[in-house]
């Protein structure tokens, strides 16, 4: 059973440092493959720290581990992931005449992997 969310990929300090440390390092790989969810949504969906979920957009599908967003950083219904390979796999190729693929505010379906 999947549920629709809005995904916002973005910069984090660790992801930024990871670019300099090397994209094949554990630190960069770990930072860019963890999905942040609002604690209320985690509780409602019965998700625990480290559980894996499948995210599907119109054009791609990825599997990631989840973590609760700190404090009230994320409102319900919104997900966050650091920029990287996985976030880009959910982007479409169409830029709607702008040169810029829609890279933030993506509609995604979230499904818990049993």
């Amino acid at each position: 059973m999947s549920e629709l969310f809005v995904l916002i990929p973005g910069r984090t300090s660790k992801q930024g440092c990871g670019i300099s440390e090397g994209k094949f390092t554990d630190a960069y790989q770990s930072e860019t493959t963890i999905l942040q969810i609002c604690p209320k949504d985690m509780q409602r969906l019965g998700l625990n720290e480290g559980d894996r979920v499948r995210l599907s957009s119109e054009t791609g599908q990825v599997e990631v581990a989840v973590t609760a967003a700190k404090g009230d950083e994320l409102p319900p219904g919104v997900l966050f992931i650091a920029y990287g390979d996985l976030s880009s796999r959910l982007m479409g190729g169409d830029t709607h005449g702008s040169g810029m693929p829609t890279s933030k505010g993506l509609d995604v379906a979230l499904e818990k992997i049993a």
């Binding site: 910069r11 930024g16 404090g71 994320l74 190729g93 005449g97 702008s98 040169g99 810029m100 829609t102």
Partner: protein, 447 residues
Amino acid sequence: MSTATKNQAATDGSLKIVQDATCTFCGCVCDDIDLSVKDNHIVEAKRACVLGKSWFFNHYVDQRPSCLISGRPASIEEGIERAAKILAGAKYPIIYGLSDTTCEAQRIAVGIGDWIGGNVDTTTSVCHGPSGMAFQGVGEVTCSLGEIANRGDLIIFWGSNPAESHPRHFTKYSLMPKGMFLPNGRKDRTCVLVDVRKTKSAKAADIFLQIKPRKDFEALWILRALAQNLSLDPAEVEDETGVPLSAWQDLMGRMKQAKFGVLLFGMGLTMTRGKHLNSEALLALVRDMNAYTRFVAKPMRGHGNVTGADNVVSWQTGYPFGVNMSRGYPRFNPGEYTTADTLARREADAAMIIASDPMSNFSQAARERLLAIPYISLDPKETPTTRGATVAFTTATYGINTAGTVYRMDDVPIPLRPAFDSPHPSDFEILSGIERRVKALKAAVRL
């Protein structure tokens, strides 16, 4: 100045100090970093932020060969020859990246684009490219970061998280400095953050407005209406933006009363549905505000010399990014000549990627196309893009190993003061070699 010690190899265990070195990790381009260098490694970076420290401390000289052809070590001359043949022989070659190299190297890359009749596009197209389109539609009421430090009494960040992406922006330019007209620094300023997420930057703000996702355009037009004293339906405004009308009215009151208002905007606007229309709305709001007071807008630029890329491509072609040279004169059309599109539509048949990693950052369709065509990469580090390149050059790191010029996010040029030499060639040297060979190959075809 300690740069007089230019680049002697500090391999004898002695400590070399480079004063006022320039950090090129982000668009702040802080040029007040004091580096301590020992055995060709930076051991201290005074005043650098967390991103800057990581940038300086993680630049060991890469032990990979300076050139790989199809994954096998080759001489630089062989690499240049192969690269020139790929580019000169293609029907629709593209050049992309450029935001993490010097203006001098960018200039040569544009020249190559002209010789091969290809596209020249930079990472601006997937950063503030939509703002570049909006500048052409609305104009830009702008200023330098120094003016913000000395005058800005109302600082609004919109769709930007400087605490994580530009950590020294608050302390060096926008919030903390005691300026000519702001003797008490932070106490003389009001800071507002508008964002979908309550990011780490919210702690630095006096007022945080949490809007609904993908409602920036609507929120900006509500402010434009309030600037004109138009009456709005409170229920509709809150339902649309997630923020009460009273909060928008309060913000507009502060904007009109400010002596020098500043709107600093990030990719929360440009990467979200609406894109250039979001940036246009913001620039139009700032233009409107100048009927009441002095108000300026500035995009928060990410890469160290992405602003330089805009400047150099504009000097050379008249347009900032997404430029096509196939007819012998430059044409500009985002969506047609931009790299995300030419790759995803499988139009480009050869590429040169300079200091950028589209194999990590582009859509799946674009990545698949890039992997299917011959391409050249120039990068100091190994990335998914360098791993797939037909010809991969390992180059010296700009600012750490090579001198040159970069542009800060407010279009102010800053010189680089390198710390130590690299055994690898600079982007400028490789590109100059490719340009020479491309010119010869193209001249031979014309004969």
